[in-house]
Amino acid sequence: MQDRLDSHPAKARSRTYQEHRTVESVDALCALRNRIARIEGLRPQDAPIHAPLGVDSLDHALGGGLARGRLHELFAAEVADGPGASGFAAMLARLALSPTAPLLWLRQEEAERGGGGLSASGLAQIGIDPARLVLLVLPDPVMLLRAAADVVRCSSVGAAVIELWKQPRALDLTASRRLAVAAEESGVTTLMLRVDAQASPSAAHTRWQIAAAPSAALEADAPGHPAFAIELLRQRGRPGGGRWRLEWDRERARFGEAALPGLVVPAAAGGPEAATLRA
């Protein structure tokens, strides 16, 4: 599929755009070089640019990190893991974003009611500047997917989080393929966040399952940094599978490996974290 797309002139153009976007500090010289490359019709390499997550084994499994300009699916393990999954999506977006690029978050009204509204100060505490965020709250999944297609097509968007609750009929293979192709062409890192949903065939580059995990306690047994138990369900072109425990480090904007909390994991909790412990 890659080879076929390469011959497309729009593909070459968007690729340079994407490279342009990867300039972490807005380095005029680098950007200029990109523009010249575009004018001369040079085509950079096809492989997606990876943003390392920070944990070596995970980055290795992913072939370097989170692929930018691709569609990724994040499933909350249970409804109660919804905030965890949405936090994880925000963190991935933070990883993939250049410091000035805007982040768009598309939600349903249902999610606003059931899961609580997105809080600006909470985002700031994760490391995302709320000033860069544009929030779209839409009444139904059809409208949301339509808006999402528009958003993902716009190459000046840094990352887009598409939050869909339940199993909307509008989200089929065609819709996800449309998003995946748009993301590849525009270079927008697209995170499809699914809560209260079952995985179905899709064109996503990677698929994850996310659950909250007990954090490493701070002083006086206070809850610590956000920790997650994640599972890579599948990925395109590479073997899937594997579980990790991650802890978010806001200052470095990277994940670290979470220490196993020896104390309070109940034997009864049969969720992914228990499985991770066994693994």
Binding site: V26, A28, A31, R35, A80, G82, P83, G84, S86, G87, A90, P102, G115, G116, G117, L118, S119, A120, S121, G122, L123, A124, Q125, I126, D129, P130, A131, L133, V134, L135, L136, V137, L138, M143, A147, D150, V151, C154, S156, A211, A212, A213, P214, S215, L218, A220, D221, A222, P223, G224, H225, P226, A227, A229, R250, V264, V265, P266, A269, E273
Partner: protein, 566 residues
């Protein structure tokens, strides 16, 4: 312009012409009285003010319909919208009239007609739009303009009387009360009955008893005795009517900063053609805006249908713009997204484009690395989404200067906040102290704690019991007492407060505060909240608070979950 049979006209338009004599009735002081009548009923000798029973006795086949002033008002507003085509200065004359200020409009139309015939139009004609070219519909004089108004409105099925005069009050009075033609405006006004002054019934009767029957009788008298006898209001009304004081109408809409229009001899019957005209007007607007070094953030297109209906399409952009392609694309988006599509009917015979306000917009220098381009592309995306989905669906956060968690950020329409300031960074090394998701209002939970003012042990939320493994807190957040103090000033019950010490005074505060509209949810802003950051055994993190200090503010504090951490 006066519409004497407004309710009847509205009803006939809706239900067709052949109906029995109709009376519009309303319950007044215990009796059902006739408020308005249609033409047939008037011809049969009925008059407003009769009770329905009396009227029925005289005309047995009389149909009675509830009087609906609200619908009449809406109908009048629609008529006023249609009147926009003659002048932008349109005012409602309450209940059944519309006043137009046509000062300068006659000349204005002439100038406009001349201006629009420009060489640029040739291209348009080549594209087969020659029927769109202006037909030079000009109003040679005010009378011709009035005739045009009369003809159009009566075609629309309205009974109207219109009058031209130097002041709005004179025109309103002449339209309503003039019975015989007069030599000139002055004479006509002097012949009007005193009722034209629009005074109370008592004042009118007093005037008539004093032998003052027409305006002319009053006009020559010195104002001081009149004021002493009948009140200042009468003299004011008289002065305005006679044009002795300068009175103006206050138009329904503010005049836009830039207004462009195109009139057609043959109505445009396709929406696509109408859009092409808007495109053309947008190009003209771009030229005008460039001359003024400005740009518009709002563009309003108004389509005037030949039968008098008006359709308005307005779009907004986040950044001021004068690039004609942007408004045109947004107009197209908006029209595509309309729930009820635009119905051209028999076609539009006038199309207008207005820019309500012009904001400064200097020519920009493109950055070498394309930063400005990316910014503009983003602004265009936000505009497009706001236009299609509705401006309130696309939001950005604006920080607020308050410590109440749910009020710290407002999600405002993104088109209003094109360039928000960056937020302060949280302190390094701390875990997130504020949740990612915030419930508004907070959700009530059942909490088990060891002591009433101690930390929570376990809680039940959404039918699930969560065992708390670790917590941090309390973080105490008190209400905004200074706001309450300010709001309490107008109606202070200080004696009550002084007499009831302690808890009662607090309760009193709460009751008052709960009346405020900007109060945080649950209407008890003065209670202190003790927030706990807790994590349950499965690693889910919550933000709970206890509402009220135990034994100081409340006997049994309630618990709420306010947010969820990642």
């Amino acid at each position: 312009m006066w519409f004497p049979l407004l309710p009847a006209d509205r009803r006939r338009r809706r239900f067709g012409p052949d109906a029995p004599p109709t009376a519009f009735v309303e319950k007044q002081r215990g009796a059902i009285r006739v408020v308005a009548l249609d033409r047939q009923a008037l011809r049969l000798g009925l008059a407003p003010g009769l009770t329905l029973a009396d009227a029925r006795a005289r005309v047995p086949e009389l149909a009675a319909v509830d009087h609906d002033p609200h619908a009449d008002r809406l109908w009048l507003e629609r008529i006023a919208d249609g009147c926009d085509r003659w002048t932008p200065m349109v005012a409602l004359d309450p209940s059944d009239g519309v006043t137009l200020d046509i000062t300068g409009c006659v000349e204005g139309f002439l100038v406009h007609a001349k201006k629009s015939v420009r060489p640029e139009r040739v291209e348009e004609e080549r594209q087969g739009f020659d029927r769109l070219s202006p037909n030079g519909e000009m109003f040679g004089s005010e009378t011709a303009l009035a005739a045009d108004i009369e003809q159009r409105l009566s075609t629309a099925g309205l009974t109207l009387r219109l009058a031209l005069a130097g002041t709005p009050e004179a025109a309103q009075a002449l339209a309503r009360f003039q019975s015989l033609p007069a030599v000139d405006e002055g004479q006509a006004i002097r012949r009007l009955p005193v009722a034209a002054l629009g005074q109370e019934d008592e004042a009118e009767t007093a005037l008539r008893r004093a032998g003052l029957k027409t305006i002319g009788d009053l006009a020559d008298r010195p104002p001081a005795p009149l004021a002493a006898r009948f009140g200042e209001g009468l003299v004011d009304a008289l002065d305005r009517l006679l044009g002795r004081t300068d009175s103006r109408i206050s138009p329904r809409r503010a005049l836009p900063a830039l207004l462009l229009e195109r009139r057609f001899a043959e109505p445009v019957a396709r929406t696509d053609d109408a859009l092409a005209v808007l495109d053309d007007l947008a190009h003209e607007a771009a030229i005008a805006l460039e001359e003024r070094h400005g740009g518009g953030r709002c563009f309003v297109g108004r389509l005037y249908r030949s039968d008098g209906a008006v359709r308005e399409v307005s779009i907004e952009t986040g950044l001021p713009t004068r690039d004609p392609a942007i408004p045109v694309r947004l107009f197209r988006e908006r029209i595509d997204a309309l729930a009820d599509p635009i119905d051209p009917g028999f076609g539009f015979d006038m199309i207008r484009l207005a820019v309500p306000a012009i904001e400064p917009l200097a020519a920009t220098q493109l950055k070498l690395e394309g930063g400005r381009v990316a910014e503009e592309a983003m602004a265009a995306l936000v505009d497009r989404l706001s236009t299609r989905l509705g401006r309130n669906r696309v939001r950005r956060f604006a920080p607020q200067g308050t410590h109440i968690p749910e009020q710290q950020a407002l999600a405002l329409p993104a088109v209003d906040l094109p360039d928000p300031a960056p937020w302060p960074l949280p302190p390094a090394g701390e875990p997130p102290l504020r949740p990612l998701h915030l419930f508004d209002p907070p959700q009530r939970i059942e909490v088990t704690a060891e002591v009433p003012d101690g930390p929570p042990r376990r809680f039940r939320w959404r039918r699930t019991v969560h065992e708390i493994a670790r917590f941090e807190g309390p973080e105490r957040i008190a209400g905004e007492w200074w706001r309450v103090r300010v709001n309490r000033l107008p109606d202070p019950p200080p004696s009550v407060l002084r007499e009831k010490p302690g808890r009662d005074a607090m309760a009193c505060d709460e009751a008052e505060a709960s009346d405020r509209t900007d109060a945080p949810p649950k209407g008890k802003p003065l209670l202190t909240r003790d927030y706990f950051r807790v994590e349950d055994v499965r690693g889910r993190r919550f933000w709970l608070f206890r509402h009220g200090l135990y034994e100081h503010e409340t006997g049994s504090p309630d618990w709420y979950v306010h947010g969820l951490f990642a």
